[in-house]
Symmetry: C2
């Protein structure tokens, strides 16, 4: 087994955190503004305990943070953590597109030689 | 529990598939061109069985497909499946950015009224 780097572990946690519709719903809600745990729980017919667990997973993944604001402790989205994910995915897509572009230019050259 | 839509299930599977460094390594390898199972297994010190399992997870998530080319059956990356993921993430980021932009313009208006 390859030993995992810290960056790898961060990606593991963040992708895993998003692999759940309730947690994605919470991220989508937070993208529209900070929210308390109760506000986040509202659209979901699940126990408060389950909601807390989902929030902890999102927090551990660095996708959300909670204010120290004693009473409400609202949750905030961390857009930089989302950016790290699109960064990784886009790198793979760019590789793929580059490869197709190179293939295209090879085909073009072959066609020109043919004429 | 909210019932999951098909699109939700696809996102679940794709995000979960990327929550593993070996599977991300395979996606990165395939972004540079198709590869056989043996070629994909090469950088990883894991059993052939484990490799097959990882490939099945990526296939079920729609991130890769395998040619019917009888002998080699190379794996191919499906860039559209990656696009669906960045699509979802970018929507959340855009919401967040819009919100900050609106906050900025409110602050600007307040500042102007103050002068």
């Amino acid at each position: 087994m390859r030993s995992e780097t810290e960056a790898d572990e961060r990606l593991d946690r963040a992708f895993l955190a998003l692999a759940d519709p309730v947690r994605r719903g919470m991220v989508a809600r937070l993208s529209r503004g900070p929210a308390t745990v109760n506000e986040l729980a509202e659209p979901f017919a699940i126990s408060k305990q389950a909601v807390s667990k989902h929030i902890k997973v999102l927090e551990a993944a660095g996708l959300i943070t909670r204010s120290r604001d004693a009473q409400r402790r609202p949750c905030h989205l961390e857009p930089a953590a989302l950016e790290a994910l699109t960064g990784w995915i886009d790198a793979q897509r760019l590789n793929t597109e580059d490869r197709f572009r190179r293939l295209d230019s090879v085909l073009e050259t072959l066609k020109e030689k043919d004429q």
